[in-house]
């Protein structure tokens, strides 16, 4: 009995997540409340049929804001990771392929410096310099985040470039660029994907944390981290303001964690 349930557990999770995702993506179509502005007279009402997750201080429906907040968090996380991958894979592969040459030494040096710099302080400093906002956050986090990816890519390239098929390609005179992209990179995809997915979790946490501290997504755009922060003073009498965004954030992170875990296990075989 228990074994059967366990077997279906994964299926349940999958279905649940898919429903949620489609809900989130199609939110505009059927949600009637405005996530940005509300009706002050409804301020701080507790969860009810009319408002599933209750109402926040400014009179906005929390459920709608959570849905939009999930969207924004996902948007920021995926965009950031995309740019981080772009920079990280390019520089990492160059450094790895040209191991022990000047190119590698320079890139490794840059890697070490950015890696050594306290992550949060660097992101904070960049946001202070370029201003707050969704686009700025994506830029700021990407500029710091690519390092983790580059390190892994470089490591993979260093080991992979001594493989038989690569030596063969070089002996045959295949151009370097082609070797990198068509021969080595596809084999490195697996660990890169794993670290990319786990990296999403870090980005989401950082973005939520930045909003928590006050640097981040601008009001009235919803951000899960910001909603948690804004609700923290009202935990006693209006707990729904912090708890539901917190749960949503946790679910997103949980999802990416299990996705990464699954990919990891598949990689190990």
């Amino acid at each position: 009995m228990i074994c059967n349930l366990v077997r279906y557990r994964k299926l349940f999770k999958f279905v649940f997540v898919v429903t949620l995702m489609s809900l989130v993506l199609s939110a505009d179509l059927f949600l009637s409340y405005d996530p940005l502005w509300g009706d002050l007279k409804e301020s701080l009402q507790s969860p009810s049929i009319k408002h599933f997750f209750g109402v926040d201080l400014v009179g906005r429906d929390v459920f709608v804001r959570v849905i939009y907040g999930i969207r924004i968090s996902l948007l920021i996380a995926i965009s950031t990771q995309f740019f981080s991958l772009l920079i990280g894979i390019t520089l990492g592969s160059l450094a790895g392929y040209f191991h022990d040459t000047l190119v590698d030494r320079v890139i490794s040096y840059v890697l070490a410096v950015v890696w050594g710099f306290p992550f949060l302080l660097l992101v904070l400093a960049i946001t202070t310099a370029i201003g707050p906002g969704v686009v700025q956050i994506i830029v700021a986090i990407s500029l710091v985040n690519w390092v983790g990816i580059a390190r892994v890519v470089r490591g993979e390239f260093i080991s992979l470039k001594e493989r038989q098929y690569v030596l063969a390609a070089r002996a045959t005179g295949v151009r370097k660029g082609r070797i990198i992209f068509r021969h080595i990179l596809p084999n490195a995809v697996s660990p890169i994907t794993v670290i990319a997915v786990f990296g999403l979790v870090d980005i989401i946490t950082i973005e939520a944390g930045l909003s928590f501290l006050g640097f981040g997504v601008q009001p009235p755009t919803p951000s899960l981290g910001k909603m948690i922060f804004e609700g923290k003073d009202f935990i006693q009498n209006a707990w729904w303001q912090s708890v539901f965004p917190g749960l949503a954030l946790t679910m997103i992170i949980l999802f990416f964690n299990s996705l990464g875990d699954k990919l990891n296990r598949e990689k190990r075989g």
């Binding site: 940005l36 502005w37 509300g38 002050l40 007279k41 301020s43 201080l57 400014v58 009179g59 202070t128 201003g131 707050p132 006050g214 640097f215 601008q218 009001p219 009235p220 922060f229 804004e230 923290k232 003073d233 009202f234 935990i235 006693q236 009498n237 209006a238």
Partner: protein, 555 residues
């Protein structure tokens, strides 16, 4: 018969006198006056202090601690001057001021003095302290206090003189201050923290460390300071002050100021008994204070202090930015479109008062009859048409700069929503306070959220930000507001010898400013404190200043 009559008359007379004396002796809470000595008072502030050097202090937390350690020439209570280190003063023309010092005030004992014993405070100390304020090599936040009004101060500030000639030492306990022009509110300036008196020995001995090694004349000394933890103040045994029954002050042995950043955690500590006083967090305000501004039943074992504050919250327009700069009707439309009552009720939970102008009820120049911009959607729409943007058509997006904070953003979002309803579209930019000020000074913003906490309880300080000569970046007229009528009335006020006349001028200035609408006028603040029942003598004024020297604990 005559004898009985006389005796009874005498008895009645005696009873009346005793009654009179008894009611004078009653302390702040109407209890019989018998203060106990001893005990540690525990309070908390929400941020670290930046410095205890009087010339550097420009935040309320540093002030809170420093004002127990240092004292100035005078102080203000109920808008009336109270002598402190100065026992009297006079000025015939508001241009030359003579200050007579007390002869019995000693600095606190400290190693910087010979044999570690604090010495008598003299007029030389006053001149020394005041000159530090305009010393160009020091980190003085208050140079503006004297720089442009005291004779010779500007020269000293520019490094062209070795002293400020306007501070004349007449004798050891008499100082004469010469101003360049008559300036009636001068006493108010002398009551600020910038004018606390410091000993030269301490400054010279401790140098850079003087900011955390204060030596003053006040009722408490700094016992220890652990950043992010607590500040400990210990009783100054040589303090000169005495209470109305000629008993030595202060009563407390120690004042413990903890640093607790979070409002709710501070409140939780108060409820547990770890603190004797706390501010009331906004989230709990409706539960603690009823609509009639009284303590609610569940909290009635505590004492409540509630009074209108002098601070005003507003959004300032930067008037050299278009289209807001030249379009008065547009600014007025914006003012009419904002439903302040709703914001006060739902977001501020009733904690505050609607501001029709910028002079709060605590000031003597407060004008209760001021019309202001009451919420009126029809008038807003009319003004929009007058402004050339019917229903907001053609109006570009307006950017509002604000600093981070739950309430602040909630109010801004609501304002954004309310303005949307008449067709005015805004974009909110949240940044940190310092960046906001920087941008406002540079003129890099269209609208910015601000609040002004007056330095002293005299309306004049509110006027200077509307004067043409103070336009930023040289002064703090961040709005670049200029109206020659306002300038003229202000000059007249400064030349006037009658406080009543000045108040009339101030009221006129306020009317003109409100009509010109360089602001979105929002709210006046409310000061709230909850005290444990055994705390006595805790007096909070509208500037949120508290003097621990009069506080005592009943158990």
């Amino acid at each position: 018969m005559k004898k009985t009559f006389l005796v009874s008359l005498l008895l009645i007379f005696v009873v009346l006198i005793i009654n009179d004396l008894a009611s004078e002796e009653k302390g702040e809470q109407g209890q019989p006056y018998a203060p106990k000595y001893g005990g540690t008072f525990k309070s908390a502030i929400e941020s670290n202090i930046k410095s205890l050097d009087p010339i550097e202090i420009n935040d309320v937390f540093s002030f809170h601690a420093a004002s127990q350690i240092y004292e100035g020439l005078l102080d203000f209570q109920d808008k009336k001057p109270v002598p402190m280190l100065a026992k009297s003063w006079e000025s015939k023309d508001n241009k030359t001021w003579i200050i007579h010092l007390r002869k019995d005030v000693f600095f606190q004992d400290d190693k910087c003095f010979s044999e570690g014993k604090g010495r008598l405070v003299t007029a030389q100390d006053v001149k020394y302290s005041f000159e530090r304020l305009v010393d160009p090599n020091l980190k003085s936040a208050g140079a503006w206090l004297f720089k442009d009004i005291v004779v010779g101060a500007a020269l000293f500030f520019n490094g062209e003189a070795k002293e400020v000639t306007g501070f004349k030492i007449k004798d050891d306990f008499t100082l004469q201050i010469d101003l360049t022009n008559p300036y009636p509110p001068f006493l108010f300036r002398l009551s600020t923290n910038f004018c606390f008196i410091v000993p030269r020995e301490a400054v010279e001995k401790y140098g850079k460390n003087f900011s955390f090694h204060p030596v003053g004349t006040g009722p408490f000394k700094l016992a220890s300071y652990a950043p992010d933890r607590e500040i400990r103040l210990a009783r100054n045994l040589r303090y000169w002050g005495r209470d109305s029954k000629d008993k030595k002050l202060p009563y407390l042995d120690e004042v413990n100021i903890r640093i607790i950043r979070d409002d709710m955690i501070r409140f939780a500590n108060f409820k547990k008994g770890n603190l004797n006083v706390t501010k009331i967090p906004l989230a709990l305000y409706p539960q603690i204070v009823t609509k009639e501004k009284k303590l609610s039943k569940s909290y009635n074992k505590y004492k409540l202090i509630l009074l209108p504050g002098l601070e005003v919250q507003y959004y300032g327009f930067v008037l050299n930015k278009q289209p807001l700069g030249k379009n008065k009707a547009l600014r007025q439309a914006i003012n009419f479109a904002i439903n302040k009552k709703e914001i006060l009720k739902y977001i501020l939970k009733g904690k505050g008062y609607i501001a029709k102008g910028f002079i709060a009820p605590g000031f003597s120049a407060y004008n209760a009859e001021l019309e202001g911009y009451a919420y009126d959607l029809e008038k807003a729409k009319q003004k929009l048409v007058e402004a050339g943007y019917p229903k907001g058509k053609g109006l570009p997006e307006i950017e509002i700069l604000l600093n981070a904070g739950t309430e602040i953003e909630a109010i801004a979002t609501t304002i954004q929503n309310q303005l949307n309803k008449v067709g005015i579209h805004c974009k909110l930019s949240v940044t940190d306070f310092q960046t906001l000020i920087g941008k406002a000074f540079k003129g890099d913003a269209q609208v910015f959220r601000m609040w002004v906490e007056p330095l002293y309880p005299e309306s004049e300080i509110l006027m200077v930000q509307f004067l043409t000569k103070n336009v930023a970046p040289s002064g703090w007229n961040l709005y670049r507001y200029s109206n020659s009528k306002v300038d003229r009335f202000f000059e007249e006020a400064m030349l006037s010898r009658s406080q009543k006349e000045r108040i009339e001028k101030y009221k006129k200035i306020e009317e003109i400013v409100v009509e010109d609408a360089p602001w979105i006028f929002l709210f006046f603040g409310e000061i709230s404190r909850l005290l444990e029942p055994h705390v006595q003598g805790y007096v909070l004024d509208e500037l949120q200043h508290v003097k621990y020297k009069s506080v005592w604990l009943k158990q």
